[in-house]
């Protein structure tokens, strides 16, 4: 559930980022959405790692799904650091948009793959 909430917050962040780019919203209005999305996503990663351990004995699984989740986490971790780089703060709206595109591509490709893959072990 935490991951779904995070996805929703990332999409909302992208929407406000888009409004910020076209000048219809305050410059950093999207930032709070991204921060809360990142917190929710981090909670999802940690609880997922605990579940992965009790189920399969690993805290990380070398599968497309887990690597995709790590891709999203590191991308947003990088985006959050942009605010603290002088002169780059304004570009973070574009990163919010790119992040939402990444979330869409990775999550939907995972769902499609999981629908067709023979699942072994749980």
């Amino acid at each position: 559930m935490s991951e779904s909430v995070a996805h929703a917050l990332f999409y909302a962040g992208a929407l406000y980022g888009f409004l910020s780019i076209i000048g219809k919203d305050q410059v950093n209005g999207f930032y709070a959405w991204i921060v809360w999305g990142f917190i929710a996503y981090t909670i999802a990663q940690v609880t997922g790692a605990v579940w992965c351990f009790v189920g399969w004995g690993n805290t990380f699984n070398w599968s497309a799904r887990h690597l995709g989740s790590a891709t999203i986490w590191t991308f947003y971790a990088a985006s959050l650091h942009l605010k603290f780089i002088p002169g780059w703060g304004k570009r973070s709206a574009a990163f919010a948009l790119a992040g939402a595109l990444l979330v869409f591509i990775i999550s939907y490709s995972s769902y499609l793959r999981e629908m067709s893959l023979l699942r072994v072990g749980g």
């Binding site: 351990f53 009790v54 189920g55 399969w56 004995g57 690993n58 805290t59 990380f60 699984n61 070398w62 599968s63 497309a64 799904r65 690597l67 995709g68 790590a70 891709t71 590191t74 991308f75 971790a77 990088a78 650091h81 942009l82 603290f84 780089i85 990444l102 990775i106 490709s109 793959r113 893959l117 023979l118 699942r119 072994v120 072990g121 749980g122």
Partner: protein
């Protein structure tokens, strides 16, 4: 000179570049892992150095991104350590000017950075030190686990099913495997309930065996497997 190098390597721009590089590498890896499921699934039960040594010469075009990912994450770990140390040192220097609440508020991001370092070091140790063994189990069979070949005897394998009025009827709800060690101590093993004994984690898993497959039918039977992880450290 050393201080200058330390400050450059601990710069936030380097953190940003390394995080983006890690993201790009992980994304590339997710594409390879999606296309070659069996190849990368082996990595979940082998030490990373053994797996990479086996595959880097045979199929470098598929596994090149794993050493690159470890290099990037290593650099990121060093960068975060330097950045967090610089930040904590600056906060401690100006502590007299800040009230306690503000000091601890400002300290929180650095604590999160140190926590992240602990997590990636934990992952590194798990990837490089864990040893795995998967053993099929049947009633009254004998299982040897670990390098010291500790003997366990399977006393019983009992499945419980979902209730008859449930949409999931005829599906296994839980399996309880009772093991007995050489001292006669009973160990109960169930799905999602690992047991830690004598430095080993025991997990109950199942493996689907494809029995018959036609364009209409896809019948499968499952067999129980026990996985043993020897874990010098627990994360």
């Amino acid at each position: 000179m050393i201080r200058r190098i330390w400050n450059i390597l601990g710069d936030i721009k380097v953190s940003f570049a390394l995080l983006m590089a890690a993201s790009a590498t992980l994304f590339t890896g997710s594409l390879y892992a999606g296309d070659h499921y069996s190849l990368f699934n082996e990595l979940n039960h082998l030490r990373i150095q053994d797996w990479v040594a086996d595959h880097i010469t045979l199929q470098p075009e598929r596994v090149w991104w794993i050493p690159l990912l470890f290099i990037i994450m290593g650099c990121l770990g060093a960068n975060i350590f330097m950045f967090a140390c610089n930040r904590v040192a600056a906060l401690v220097r100006q502590r007299k000017l800040d009230p306690n609440i503000r000091f601890f508020h400002l300290l929180t991001p650095s604590l999160i950075h140190f926590l992240f370092l602990v997590i990636i070091l934990g992952h590194l140790m798990t990837f490089t030190l864990d040893r795995w063994q998967t053993t099929p189990i049947k009633q009254q069979s004998r299982v040897e686990c670990g390098e010291e070949r500790q003997v366990l005897r399977v006393q019983s394998v009992r499945d419980t099913f979902f209730p008859e009025n449930s949409a999931m009827r005829d599906n296994i709800f839980q399996t309880r495997v009772t093991l007995k060690n050489e001292e006669g101590k009973e160990i109960a093993l169930q799905f999602t309930k690992p047991v830690f004994i004598d430095g080993h984690y025991l997990f109950l898993d199942k493996k689907k065996e494809q029995k018959k497959k036609t364009w209409k039918q896809n019948l499968e039977k499952t067999s129980k497997m026990m996985k043993t992880a020897t874990r010098p450290i627990s994360i």
